[in-house]
Amino acid sequence: MKPETLLYPTPKGLYCEKGGFYIDPVQPVEKALITHGHADHARAGHTHVLATRETLDIMRIRYGDAFCVSSQAVVLGARTGIGDVTASFHPAGHVLGSAQIAVEADGTRIVVSGDYKRRRDPTCAAFEPVPCDVFITEATFGLPVFHHPDDRGEVAKLLTSLRQFPERAHLIGAYALGKAQRIIALLREAGYDQPIFIHGALARLCDYYEERGIGLGDIRPATQDVQDRQSFAGAVVIGPPAAFADKWARRFPDPVAIFASGWMLVRQRAKQRGVELPMIISDHCDWTELTETIREINPAQVWVTHGREEALVRWCELEGIAARPLHLVGYDDEGE
């Protein structure tokens, strides 16, 4: 069948008419398949939800037990029949539990990548390329300017600063799901064994990562006595980026403002946010990884969603690959 009839964009999200389900819908629907637990992809209020066990757990942590009426955990790689179509989930390498969703009917297969990355990440399973007719790729960093450097170099910058400024608290803004835990794991890999302090918004997710066997070391809440400001001198504190503009940040002595994000590659972005030490660490593909993934999968068509669609579509044209933008709305890239 024609891929355009198997999956197509609607105001509620990407819709599969033949299977009667949406993928990452942005409004409540009857049946939803969810790629991963980030709030703009995984919303509360659907009737039936199909996702990996980790994604379902994360939704439960964030929204409570009533986040949907019924849920079904899928095993990576297993094929599930839904109406006249078959769906299967495959690791996307984005955050814990993240998956690509392959939808197949009448010999046509479309892979919805969700958000994905190709770099090694100690906190989640690596991306697996799935052969397909249509590959739907995100394009958060879909411009030739984005070349994310090696994570280890970025962590080394932080360690250098800790040595240079032992009297200052090092405050890292990082997305609460995935990025925060990855930063912690990378710090541990680099041999940093001091306690790491976390904002309350991260606590339950960090606990969950531990439960799933991802060791984060000595994690403590950053909620000590205000009297004892100096106890944060030279400490690493991690919280959601918004918390650092908030009064919460005042309890730390002379903080170094750090932001861990792919956007930190752009100097002006770091400057505007008042970031003193940018850590260019991303849970998305950079330009090279996006284009190499498309080459590797070699689909007949590429559909491009959220991000800078036009540049990636242009690149596909130059490469002789049929491509078009999908214009899905409701996905937010600022938290990255």
């Binding site: 650092f244 503009a245 505007q272 540049a311």
Partner: protein, 551 residues
């Protein structure tokens, strides 16, 4: 190159002075020669390099990248060097950089290259460098390096690194050149202080401390002379053994922007004085305001038209060297007598002597201070008759006694978060006054201020902003400001002028928030007409001065 690039990246984003010094001092300690010397030159602005034109870079990048993709990228980043540094990809099959190419090696290759080879060399270097290093390299060769570090700050970092006094660095500075290997050898403690062969070096200037009422009670008026404190910039003019230089008070060489003054300096010696624009007293023409002087500042070169429209001159305060003789140990009175004799013979159009202000009591001087005869006076200087000329700011020999600032009551309109320690506080404010437009009264912004208040007052302001935000524009919050609801602050400033760059048509000098007027409603704040009248008052003063001099 990587360490240098990392240093630049951090300096640009680090707001605190001490942290910047620390970053630089650490770099100078760890980087090898000649890399650190070139880095120092790049930061202090003493590096001379062949520059590469933007169109050459554009050609290079388009050899490898589709034009449409390049345009998307450039539109997104907005800076050519940064865009190229980010999109650059080594040619497929090209060798990847095995090791970090040193800054010294890059400088060497650039120096050796002929005009014709520049294209190939830049391409080759871009291939060998990585991310941030590519950016630093491109900024160096396009002459677009902006890192927000003053020459003074980098000298402080050198002083910290070598554990010496900054005045020693300032004195040596203009006798040395990149890559400063002798300087670093001395700072590393591996050799003696370098000997200079350039005579017209900068000598650290003598500074005054502010005077307090409690000081005056203990001081004998007869031990001091008073002088007007002129509102220009403090400079040092050196002419020794055929070398002429003009330095700012922090030791920046500003000779290039003032060829008129250097040419007129036909005497040998080192003068300390105020750089001003307008006519000298000896030509009976008025001294012009600081905003006129600004037209001549921060330029590398100057046009003939600028020289004619904004003639510069020096008003002499002190003499450090009389001919080649160092007289800094002599008393102020002795030095002044020599200065007076020297200026008598110097060109009247470019040099005059700062007049003394006769007085017999502090009360009398206070009255003169409150009502100076010239609008370009910003206060009074007190100097002990017997004071030698000593580098730096020590309390006792010289005092400054500034005139009272101007004040207006204004209404807070917008706020932004600060940096560093203040990054969680709304502490940068735009304030406005009332004016009539389209037949209605409204607030028009007249300035910005981010200091003057105490930490406790900052908490109050921050809380007000958070609870009274009416709109957000990116990082900026618009604050509720209505006739009966809003926040009034007293703004103090040093001067005010017409400005075409601001919507209100006025620009304040050195504005700060001097008091929180929680007792006032916005409707009680000042009007734009009040500010315009202040400019008018300054203008009237100016005319009167002109008349006085012509009489």
């Amino acid at each position: 190159m990587r360490a240098f690039a990392e240093l630049l990246d951090r300096l640009v984003l680090t707001p605190q002075r001490n942290a910047k010094i620390k970053l630089m001092a650490d770099y100078f300690r760890n980087a090898p020669d000649p890399d650190r010397g070139y880095a120092l030159a790049a930061i202090a602005g003493t590096l001379t390099l062949k520059t590469v034109k933007p169109h050459v870079l554009r050609q290079l990048v388009l050899e490898r990248l589709d034009e449409v993709l390049f345009r998307y990228s450039y539109d997104y980043i907005g800076d050519l060097a940064e865009t190229i540094s980010l999109v650059w990809e080594r040619q497929a099959g090209g060798e990847t950089a095995q090791q970090d190419l040193s800054l010294g090696a890059v400088m060497h290759q650039l120096e050796m290259a002929g005009r014709a080879n520049v294209h190939g060399l830049v391409r080759n270097l871009l291939d060998q460098l990585e991310g941030s290093s590519r950016f630093a390299f491109l900024k160096l060769i396009t002459g677009g390096l902006r890192i927000g570090v003053s020459a003074r700050l980098v000298k402080q970092a050198l002083a910290d690194m070598g554990n010496v006094d900054i005045t020693e660095i300032e004195t040596l500075w203009h006798g040395l050149s990149p890559p400063y290997t002798a300087l670093f050898r001395w700072l590393d403690g591996k050799s003696d202080k370098p000997e200079l062969d350039m005579p017209a070096v900068f000598h650290a200037v003598m500074l005054a401390t502010p005077v307090a009422d409690s000081d005056l009670a203990t001081l004998d008026p007869k031990a001091f002379v008073a002088e007007w404190k002129w509102d220009g910039i403090r400079v040092q003019l050196a002419n020794l053994a055929g070398t002429r230089r003009l330095y700012s008070r922090s030791g920046d060489d500003i000779s290039g922007a003032f060829p008129d003054i250097l040419e007129a300096a036909d005497f040998e010696g080192i003068i300390d004085g105020e750089l001003l624009v307008g006519g000298t007293m000896r030509t009976n023409r008025a001294t012009r305001t600081f905003s006129d002087l600004q037209q001549r500042l921060n330029r590398k070169t100057v046009t003939r038209k600028m020289l004619e429209e904004y003639p510069a001159f020096i008003r002499g305060y002190d003499l450090l060297f009389s001919g080649r003789r160092d007289i800094r140990q002599e008393s102020f009175l002795t030095r002044r007598a020599e200065l007076s004799a020297l200026i008598d013979k110097a060109a009247p159009s470019h040099f005059d002597l700062s007049p003394l202000v006769p007085f017999s009591s502090w009360e009398e001087l206070d009255r003169l201070r409150a009502d100076p005869p010239d609008p370009v006076v910003e206060g009074i200087m007190l100097k002990r008759l017997d004071s030698p000329y000593t580098a730096g700011r020590s309390k006792g020999p010289w005092f400054k006694w500034k005139r009272e600032p101007y004040n207006v009551d204004a209404v807070l309109m917008y706020a932004q978060r600060g940096h560093g320690k203040r990054s969680s506080y709304y502490s940068d404010f735009t304030f406005g006054v009332w004016t009539q437009s389209d037949g209605r009264d409204g607030l028009v912004p007249v300035g910005k201020a981010y200091f003057g208040f105490t930490d406790a007052e900052m908490e109050v302001l921050d809380r007000y902003v958070r609870n009274n935000t009416v709109e957000r524009f990116g990082p900026v919050r618009a604050i509720r400001a209505e006739p009966d609801h809003g926040f009034v602050v007293e703004v103090a400033f040093e001067g005010i002028n017409f400005s075409t760059r601001h919507k209100s048509g006025v620009a304040m000098r050195f504005p700060r928030i001097s008091r929180l007027r929680t007792d006032k409603l916005p409707r009680d704040a000042d009007r734009l007409e009040t500010l315009l009248a202040m400019i008018g008052q300054q203008g009237a003063d100016m005319e009167e001065i002109g008349n006085q001099f012509n009489r």
